[in-house]
Symmetry: C2
Subunit: 323 residues, 2 copies
């Protein structure tokens, strides 16, 4: 693939999980940047959850998505294969092929990071995919009602009353930063957090001991991409400012250099598809008063059609500005 | 990989299944021959059997072994990965990763041969792997007692009295030759049959309608590699002549040009490992009397240590002589 040139080759670290990381990495891949994806190890649902439990491995799902986003393989089928989810078979239904690949490679190499490296070779990835921690922890949440929710999947797909606010989240047991994640953050020019589910994809990275400190010590600029839509059970009714306040509570005030907010509201017909899942457009307006330690950047970031998500091209343009 | 030169680039077709095909293909890969592996679609045991039943696909196991044998990928891990068998997990235990790869690719391409082609690309194979038929059949056997055994796996791992001779085998329903298999046989300079389990890996190919005719019509020389050891429940007490007689009953008398027989008996200590599975050294002596339509070739073909199997280098030398 021909690479467009940024002014000079910069080191960019993307921190998150889920489809948000996929979007940002896909956006950056055409540029000749040095890319690292640091991904959450909190996922415990679906195929990933079964593999965690049965194989005792770290969760492969977010690793897989980042690997696919960074793949430079000419073989398009390889990406499709890694995303493929079995729909049949007593034992196989619901398992994702890429997750099984990482699991098998773990057994062959006896090491999670080696398994990721081998999967990266097979996919000819550009950059690195780094688990934020090599520790095995469960994500915990306390709701405003005092109720404790155990496990990322139970927070993500709320079985509780989704209108209740999340008071705080933590890891049990506490987990320490993966030295490779620390090094990537320390060496970075730019750290991008999000977009992504606030409590289940982004903050679980910041809960890992040493991540916040690495971000503080690093010379990197830090940019947070606020979500375009709220998520029922997690960020119900959140405005952009609510997202920022919560993220700052975990990353530490003063650690965000840029906050990137979408200001383009999609058409009512596109938003109507989100009524069922009780997701709403995030109000981009920040309060006029108050001291801010970050620079807000508002722009049209939404895809022009389809799912209401960040548009990789628009995201790439903003990131070029930040470097 | 640097290729040694045969006198000129010849088209070689290997027909069989199981580890025998793997041995012959591995033996031939260093040479610049045009290789095709035609493999049986009769397997219905283990991981393959489950995938056949649950996904309704043709059996991937023998395809996988041939693909690995033909892989030219520099990435050794890729071959290990395709051979990896899950040892854990309620739904995954016993499944072979390569079988899952072929199954997922089948679902993505909706076609068994396309799935094999895509797997071949991922493994950078040299040559082609061709299912002998695209029809779904079960291998059936009638024992000398009159008992009917249904399914390849039930013949292969005998639940019946393994001392009983197999009277005949057939496919139910009858299956027709894959046009690509027919073309490969018709275009070949040399067709190699075996080594391999006589009734469960070799003859199932010859039972497919059109295979015997293609072999008869082809200008190719045909060589049969007789097994080194008997197999309890299948070729109990068989001499080399018994193997040849049975194979000729299915391929048709006069269709074998060469029969290659190992004449080196391994040491008693190596053979002692086979007592438990009731396998014995195949007597290589052919009767002195009688008219033969084939040329017998006897040589030391056995590996110098380890499992009593054909040695790929020794096999390659013989094949060079036959071309």
């Amino acid at each position: 693939m021909k690479k467009k040139n940024l002014k000079r080759k910069k080191k960019i670290v993307v921190i998150g999980g889920g489809t948000g990381v996929y979007t940002v990495l896909s956006a950056l891949k055409p540029y000749s940047a040095d890319l690292s994806a640091i991904v959450t190890m909190a996922d415990d649902g679906g195929s990933t959850g079964i593999l965690r439990e049965e194989f005792g491995i770290l969760p492969p799902g977010d690793i897989r998505r980042a690997l696919i986003a960074l793949s430079n393989s000419d073989n398009k089928m390889l990406s499709d294969l890694l995303s493929y989810r079995f729909q049949e078979g007593v034992g196989l239904t619901g398992h994702n092929f890429g997750n099984l690949l990482i699991t098998a490679l773990h057994r062959l190499t006896n090491d999670f990071e080696s398994a990721i490296d081998e999967a990266g070779k097979i996919l000819s990835i550009q950059g690195r995919v780094i688990p934020v921690t090599l520790g095995h922890s469960k994500l915990m949440a306390e709701l405003e009602s005092g109720e404790i929710i155990k496990g990322e999947n139970n927070i993500d797909i709320p079985k509780h009353d989704g209108r209740l606010k999340i008071k705080k989240v933590w890891l049990k047991p506490a987990a320490d930063i993966n030295p490779n994640a620390r090094k990537a953050i320390m060496d970075a020019d730019l750290v991008i957090i999000g977009p992504g589910d606030l409590y289940t994809s982004l903050i679980p990275n910041l809960l890992v001991r040493g991540v916040r400190e690495a971000i503080q010590k690093s010379k990197a600029k830090v940019a947070y991409f606020v979500n375009i839509m709220t998520k029922f059970g997690e960020t119900n009714n959140f405005s952009a400012m609510d997202f920022i306040n919560e993220l700052e509570a975990y990353i530490g005030r003063g650690n965000l250099d840029f906050v990137v907010i979408n200001n383009k509201k999609p058409s009512p017909s596109r938003l109507s598809g989100y009524v069922k899942e009780r997701a709403e457009f995030v109000d981009p307006k920040l309060p006029l008063s108050g001291k801010r330690s970050f620079m807000p950047i508002t722009a049209d970031l939404v895809r022009s059609k389809g799912l209401v998500r960040h548009d990789p091209m628009k995201v790439a343009k903003i990131i070029q500005m930040l470097l």
